[in-house]
């Protein structure tokens, strides 16, 4: 008499609606905490340099298998998470540090992961190491310099830093090789970072563009019986 008549279906619908509202409000309040996403993203970038530990892992058969399977599994996991986020199954707000333009497209961590996986599986470490270092350090350095001093200084500085990474990795190569490789690699890294593409993130391009350019160079020269690859920089632990 005092309460309006309500079917179970309607009650469930209202409860669900209320819960969704509460859930959204709760997420909004959580995001109101001003954690500096900017430095969180930078720290994630530099953290990625730790992946170079991969090259210290021994060359035993079972470890080699793990070295192939594990990166694939990790990236597959990232794909699943991103698939659910983009479908809306997982709330976008749950992902701290995502940029607004990543709301409707795969997030940059997925691109970063795919690039690292491709480098580990298909490129020699002499090419992969400086490319990973560029994504880990050159990218944040360019970002910070661009913010404080503008593009005019950011990209030349990024070029110098990338140049140093290629120099460090290839320091045992011949002089002429060193000049070509460092220039090509650093240019590739800076172009990969500077050219903004809607569907491919710069975290992917900064790694893959110099790697592909150097691989083409190495393979081209190899066809002419010239092997330019220096000895590996990192030696697996069992050796």
């Amino acid at each position: 008499m005092f309460f309006p008549e309500m079917t179970t279906k309607t009650a469930l619908k209202i409860t669900k609606q209320k819960m969704t509202e509460y859930h959204l409000e709760f997420l909004e309040r959580m995001n109101a905490i001003e954690v500096d996403a900017h430095w969180f993203r930078r720290a994630f970038h530099t953290f990625a340099a730790s992946f170079l530990f991969y090259y210290l892992l021994p060359d035993e058969t079972w470890v080699t298998n793990v070295k192939i399977i594990l990166p694939i599994l990790i990236v597959a996991g990232m794909f699943v998470i991103e698939y659910h986020r983009l479908r809306g199954d997982v709330e976008h707000k749950r992902f701290f540090g995502l940029r607004s333009y990543e709301k409707k497209r795969p997030a940059s961590y997925l691109y970063f992961g795919v690039a690292v996986m491709l480098l580990f599986l298909f490129f020699p470490q002499q090419i992969a190491i400086p490319c990973i270092l560029c994504a880990s350090f050159t990218d944040p350095i360019i970002g910070e310099t661009r913010y404080f001093f503008g593009k005019k200084y950011a990209y030349p500085l990024g070029f110098v830093i990338s140049y140093l990474f290629f120099l460090v990795t290839w320091y045992r190569a011949d002089g002429w090789v060193l000049i070509i490789v460092t220039t090509l690699g650093a240019s590739g890294a800076v172009i990969g970072e500077a050219r903004k593409c809607t569907y491919v993130d710069d975290d992917f391009m900064i790694q893959i563009l110099p790697a592909v350019l150097l691989l083409i160079l190495c393979q081209g020269l190899l066809l002419m019986q010239i092997d330019i690859l220096p000895p590996p920089l990192i030696h697996p632990l069992s050796q």
Binding site: I33, D36, F47, A49, F53, L56
Partner: protein, 86 residues
């Protein structure tokens, strides 16, 4: 007073729920540990045997160490500022 306590409790609850803050120790400790491992590897296999073959490990170790320390300082500062605000 009680209102303030409730607010503090609510903030702590929210902070505990923010997964990214739990990532912070990982983001800081792992690179430092790995860089030290690289340096140690250079010391054991390279320096103590007077071999320059393992200088690459030293270079990579130092790069990871300094690169991460430079970013970790402002990162930790931002977390500390957050705690103060809360």
């Amino acid at each position: 007073m009680e209102k303030r306590n409730i607010k503090i409790k609510e903030n702590i609850r929210k902070l505990l729920l923010r997964l990214e803050l739990w990532f912070a120790p990982l983001l800081i400790i792992v690179p430092l540990a790995i860089s030290l491992f690289f340096v140690q590897d250079w010391y054991i296999r390279g320096f103590s045997t007077s071999s320059s073959e393992f200088n690459g490990e030293l270079l990579i170790g130092l790069l990871i160490l300094f690169g991460n320390v430079l970013v970790d300082i402002p990162f930790l500062r931002s977390i500390r500022l957050l705690r103060k605000k809360e």
